[in-house]
Amino acid sequence: MSKTYYDPADLKKFGNITDWSEELGTKFFEYYNKVFEEGALSAREKSLIALAVAHTEQCPYCIDAYTKDGLQRGITKEEMMEAIHVGAAIKSGATLVMGVQMMNKVNKLDG
């Protein structure tokens, strides 16, 4: 067994999840691939969304995958960093907006 939880080489084995549940795994990958096709959003825009979500989910595999995907699409490092800030802003906003609930509670209990 590996001594670390994250091994970059495991990303190549992602497809193996179908081995233990073929139908569900296959359906997942069909869905996954369909999602990233050109649609109302371009594949390029979807790649940037995926990169931002990869960071908010803190998934090292996804970060590796969508950084490389972005480079392949000609996405610049400035665009990638801005996308991550969008994710970070929503994460921090989601934390801070809870502050209103705290304020409501303080006002009710000690107002």
Binding site: K12, A43, R44, K68, L71, Q72, R73, G74, T76
Partner: protein, 354 residues
């Protein structure tokens, strides 16, 4: 981040200047221990081994390895210090064959082909033959490198040359990182000059195509999407237009191989190439419709095999003995670098092959 030396491997006396050493690396390690299949085994799975030529379409001539640039990923290991240059005598031998060949496209490359002192003579003579598509692979900066090259756009126009130029990205940072400081600004200026005389304009017969190859250890994205993005940004930021974008995969040889090893990306890159292997691309891979001639007249299956010193497997090996019928019966020489031309939508000097 890896800081690359901006000198040719030959100048640095690197072990990778030796093509045999490159071939050794490409056949050892992950390909020797069975982690990854050799190219021969891969194409044999779809009964495509041995690889044979299709109809000859492209006659590609390398006029020499001298170049005004020292791009980090150059598969030719070209640079100002390279002195290998085609002589007029060899050019004449090529002209004699161009008159007879079935190929409809003549493709001049280098180094910077314009730096060959007999370049203009050769273009003038070749253009008299009436080739359907006459390509010069120009690095763009050569047009601005010295006063003696300033009139190249007009010269190209006079001879109806199809200009194909490298442009790794629409941003200065990524372009200069790969091709050298100041290359982006000079390239933009050269493209504007070409546009000004009609090259690359919509409906113009003066063809101007750009070549995109990735600036690092990753594969090129979809050619059509990249073209859309290049056209949008170059028009908006610089009022530049061009016809087609060719997305080309960097092959793991020469300076790009040096970069992959130095940046510890070699194995991952080879995995990416093998994973992206597409048997459909093998059908149209460029070695099947091309003959590549080196500066000293030797014949190769492609420009990459030329740089690896792999002469054609035929009784005819030199332009002076050229015999198209015999050459068309040859087996194409392959190694693991060939995965670069069969990844995804495939890759050739004319971009994707699917």
């Amino acid at each position: 981040m890896i800081k690359l030396k901006i000198q040719s491997l030959h100048k640095r006396e690197s072990e990778l200047a030796n093509s045999e050493r490159q071939l050794e690396i490409l056949s050892n390690g992950i390909f020797l221990n069975g982690e990854l299949p050799k190219f021969k085994e891969k194409i044999a799975q779809t009964n495509q081994f041995p690889l044979r030529p299709n109809k000859l379409e492209i006659f590609q001539i390398n006029l020499g390895y001298m170049c005004n640039q020292v791009c980090t990923h150059c598969h030719v290991d070209a640079g100002p210090d390279r002195t290998e240059i085609m002589t007029r005598e060899t050019m004449q031998q090529c002209l004699d064959i161009i008159k007879k060949t079935e190929a409809h496209t003549l493709d001049l490359t280098g180094g910077a082909p314009e730096m060959n002192p007999d370049f203009r003579w050769f273009v003038e003579e070749a253009s008299k033959i009436g080739i359907k598509d006459f390509i010069v692979r120009s690095n763009l900066t050569i047009i601005r490198a010295n006063k003696k090259y300033y009139d190249l756009p007009e010269f190209f126009k006079k001879h109806n040359v199809h200009v194909v130029s490298s442009m790794p990205h629409w941003t200065k940072g990524k372009t200069d990182k790969q091709r050298g400081e100041g290359v982006f600004d000079k390239s933009i200026k050269a493209l504007q000059e070409l546009n000004a005389i009609g090259y690359g304009m919509p409906n113009s017969n003066l063809k101007l195509d750009l070549v995109y190859n990735p600036s690092g250890a990753f594969l090129p994205g979809d050619q059509a999407s990249m073209e859309k993005e290049f056209k949008k940004v170059l028009k908006k930021d610089f009022d530049i237009q061009f016809h087609n974008l060719f997305a080309i995969t960097n092959l793991p040889i020469s300076r790009f191989l040096d970069y992959l090893i130095a940046s510890e990306n070699y194995e991952d890159y080879m995995y990416s190439l093998v994973e992206a292997y597409n048997p459909e691309a093998v059908k149209n891979v460029m070695c099947r419709n091309t003959i590549s001639v080196s500066w000293d007249g030797w014949l190769y299956d492609c420009d990459f095999n030329q740089m690896l010193g792999l002469k054609v497997a035929s009784k005819v090996k030199h332009i002076k003995d050229y015999n198209e019928e015999l050459l068309q019966n040859r087996k194409i020489i392959i190694s693991q670098h060939c995965y670069g031309c069969t990844a995804g939508a495939g890759s050739s000097c004319q971009g994707s092959v699917i």
